[in-house]
Subunit: 231 residues, 2 copies
DNA sequence: ACAAAAGTGTTGGAGATACACCCATGA
DNA sequence: TCATGGGTGTATCTCCAACACTTTTGT
């Protein structure tokens, strides 16, 4: 194949965050095993952008194929286009099995997404043999520049949590203020004063109290809330 | 030409800001006139990314070809990939004259740049017949989705000015505090108190006073400063 | 009754805002 | 000497951080 010098591969990579068991987790995929000696790589879920497809659309497609969810928070955060990003020998072995022109320059657009872990179950897809959740502090070495993309996505999430309170999208529909606080403490990696935190949250009036309380806990049951996004 | 469904055009578009005469300006290009009836479009400077070239590298190339400057502030802010972005009839007429496959899906990466207007002079380049500066409030209708890209770049500059004080890069090497304040007021579109502004700037200690004062002004000459970036 | 987390207000300090006058120079 | 923009300090207010005890439920 002759490579047109002005046509490039464009892909999407998604940093999909979930929150469970008070841990911030990321969804990774394991590549298919190509040969007997091949050590499968781990990677962020991603796929090529198809001719005629918008970037947000492509990201939503990747997310839907892997998790089945639609309509969740999804945000573009950065484009990565360093020509060396796919030059690692271990990545090239894999590429040479799945691509016509493994040397091609691939640009990728990084997205991050927030999903409610209790509402999804991962499924096999065209680009992933298997998917699994991993704590953000136990990320293995990933294919290509995916570790860098992950770090950039995590930073974006931290920033947006402080400014937009967007991380609330990680919680189930009904949640307690303590769950919300633990989420913030996990993402921002710092302790927060309970009373000040509640003052802040109530000021942002994105919380709606429900006529419902926690049940089956052996302590004073907490008020449940749901959220409305800022109008 | 058969279009490979997984290869796309990727381009860079630059929102190049300058500050002169107390006005925030943007560098636009005028496309070549193709036919007698063709009305040349105005656009942001940009070019295709070449195989093997990094994104930052491509943006720096566009900037250098058009202005001759290197090493100035340049920041990626967003990728644009809506497949409709080049679908306007007036854009297609032009594309049909300069591209082999005018229907191709083009993804563009938006960068913004800050240049010192007194240190550069624009020059013709491979992608622009002529370039000119225009006040940010008098932007004409631009080709493709360039008006949207411009707005996104301007918003990014505003945000970065408040958080990073990066807009200082728009001033000449030596400047007075009043010039700096006028720059901030222009970008942020609000008035700022002189004493509070100076307190802030001194606190950020990115200003270095020079042993030099303004000359030839018919009032008390102002102290000149230069800046060092945050260490 | 006890263990466990829920829920709730006040105070002090730091940082932001508002504000007015004298100074150095060129014409 | 006058017109012009340069340069400076203080009082107030708002926002954020620190801090401890009572309540409700299950066992």
């Amino acid at each position: 194949m002759t490579v047109n010098r002005k046509l490039l591969h464009v892909s999407i990579d998604c940093v999909i965050f979930g929150f469970d068991d008070n841990q911030l987790q990321v969804l990774l995929i394991e590549q298919e095993k190509i040969t007997k000696s091949h050590i499968p790589m781990h990677a962020l879920p991603g796929d090529h952008v198809i001719e005629g497809e918008g970037l947000d659309e492509a990201a939503a497609r990747v997310l839907k194929e892997l998790t089945g969810v639609e309509g969740v928070y999804l945000k573009q955060f950065k484009a990565f286009g360093n020509p060396d990003r796919i030059k690692d020998p271990k990545d090239k072995i894999w590429l040479s099995h799945v691509r016509k022109n493994p040397e091609a320059h691939v640009i990728t657009i990084g997205y991050y997404s927030l999903v409610k872990m209790n509402e999804i179950s991962t499924m096999p897809s065209s680009f992933a043999k298997s998917a699994y959740w991993v704590n953000i502090h136990n990320i293995p070495p990933l294919a290509f520049d995916h570790n860098e993309i992950f770090e950039a996505g995590l930073n974006e999430l931290k920033k947006d949590t402080e400014t937009n309170h967007i991380s609330i999208e990680l919680l189930p529909k009904k949640f307690t203020l303590s769950q919300l606080q633990e989420l913030y403490e996990t993402i921002l990696e710092k302790e927060i004063d309970k009373r000040n935190f509640r003052k802040n949250m109530k000021k942002n009036n994105c919380l709606v109290p429900l006529n419902e309380k926690q049940k089956g806990v052996r302590h004073k049951p907490a008020q449940l809330f749901t959220f409305k996004l800022d109008e």
